[in-house]
Amino acid sequence: MARLSYLKALQRALADEMARDSSVCVLGEDIGVGVNNVTTGLLAKHGPLRVVDTPLSEQAFTSFATGAALAGQRPVIEFQIPSLLFLVFEQIANQAHKFSLMTGGQAKVPVTYFVPGSGSRSGWAGQHSDHPYGLFAHVGVKTVVPATPEDAYGLFLTAIRDDDPVVLFAPAGSLGVRGDVDLAALGPVPLGVGRVHREGTDVTVVAVGHLVQAALAVAEQLADQISVEVFDPRTLYPFDWDGLAASVAKTGRLVVIDDSNRMCGIAGEILATAAEQMRLTVPPKRVTRPDGAVLPFARELDLAVQPQQDQLLTAVQEVYKSSR
């Protein structure tokens, strides 16, 4: 067993895939120097044809990657900030994502878009703190939000190997998470398969990304009163509905915690599907950012807008109580 941080796991996954497959290349800003500590050492190892430091031309290099992918390459793009995905939404949602269908299956676009440090980084304010994974799930782009070092490794690997576009969010709140992992056992983690981090029988908590840690903490805090099952979907699209259904079949109660906006957010989709198709014994709840939230700068305002552990705890207690 070795101690591995989430950030190091991302770094390792990319390095391993680049060593294994010469069609894998990485594009992005300041990736030669490696300011985000994911591409560290890759330029020296693989040279500038595989590690491409780009000018600040996100729209161009995102579709440039699409072109390279159509022509047989397997590009990975690092975005320094989550909101850059707004800038390239056309290039991903309207170009890369649509090629396969529109060409009658002639084309595939195996590009991975990843953001090391999504969500709030406290103090980076309105334009640097979004968590737009729900947008990609909405348009149907494969969307991955790993919560642990081994999942960061395994899902990054799978994303790169996948023949479709995949967006991978690495929440800022997860980068420092460490775990004891068996390095030899690290390997791909399939898309669309969730993970139960802690078994329980009273309430299912679905937690996305860094909030898995908050959910585990709440489960521990409540351990002698309420048996909480922590379900981490890992992939938001495709979503592991069967895995969730199996959990809800046991507990009958559901709370979702999701660090994105409430209106049309992924938490709403999870509650809706559970209400339609699963055996809920009491109304479910979600803990999210408010509707249409823009993260304000000051620390207390920024925190006030993000879902918090104590809010989850209360929501779990309420859902549990409402059954009796």
Partner: protein, 328 residues
Amino acid sequence: MSVGEGLYRTMRLIRRFEERAIELVHAGEIIGGIHPYIGQEAIAAGVCAALRDDDVITSTHRGHGHVLAKGADPVRMLAELTGRSTGLNGGRGGSMHAADFGKGIYGANGIVGAGGAIATGAAWAAVKEGSDRVAVSFFGDGAVNQGVLLETFNLAALWRLPVLFVCENNGYATTLTVAQAVAGSITARAEAFGIPAVSVDGADAAAVLNAARDAVARGRAGGGPSFIEATAYRFDAHHTWEHKARVRYRADEEVAAGRSRDPLDIQGVRLDADTRAGIDADVEALLAEAVAFALDSPRPDPAGALDHLYATGLRGRDGVGLLDTAVR
């Protein structure tokens, strides 16, 4: 105060403001860090000295210099950076979004290249209402490769709008050099659209002011957009996280050479020593007041975290299931 003294005072204010702000970053009083403007002061000072209060600017992630030079109150600016309710934006914006619409400052901006089109729209609005206001967009060398900025050059030239594009070429976009990023030349991008473009020494505030005066006069007279490339050296880190992370991309000799042309000295030697010392002392006192005011100011009330989200006061739902009943 003479024009030359004014230029020096603005630069000294920016320099010391940035140095004090860096101290506050290290002390944990400014969260998220800042992009220091140190070394580039002559550009903001020179350009803004050619502007009126009602002219408009848009700024960048490295925006403190522009905001101060355009006349925002340094005391309230520092309160903004420290996240206080007395700040220019009530603590909602911070370093990358500081704005003061009363002074025509349409804000720093966290997205590279985003301000150019905004300034151009503001310039168009001035024309439409018959005003001779101009708008200025500051941006870095990194921004000249953003599609939106090139699209904006076309609109500005096509519609002969009173907008001045100021490219601060400090040689780097974070770690990427201009040589690695820019095909052709920066001024040629503007010239391709028929926008008159000049390159000036961005360490010399008087040279920047001269170029800006020409451009602003052309804009006010209906002569359309202009472009200034001002070259300068960024003395400090791209962002204060570098103070800890120690990323290496500039040779020590290069940094030393860059710092040897200090815009404050270039302008400072044009003043007599007593005048300069007097300005320095004034600035020191002002910043002491600013720091004290900021640190004594109240922090915003979390209950108002999403105040101002909509101009109309629309309130969405809170984010917590328990408060579902609070739908308004």
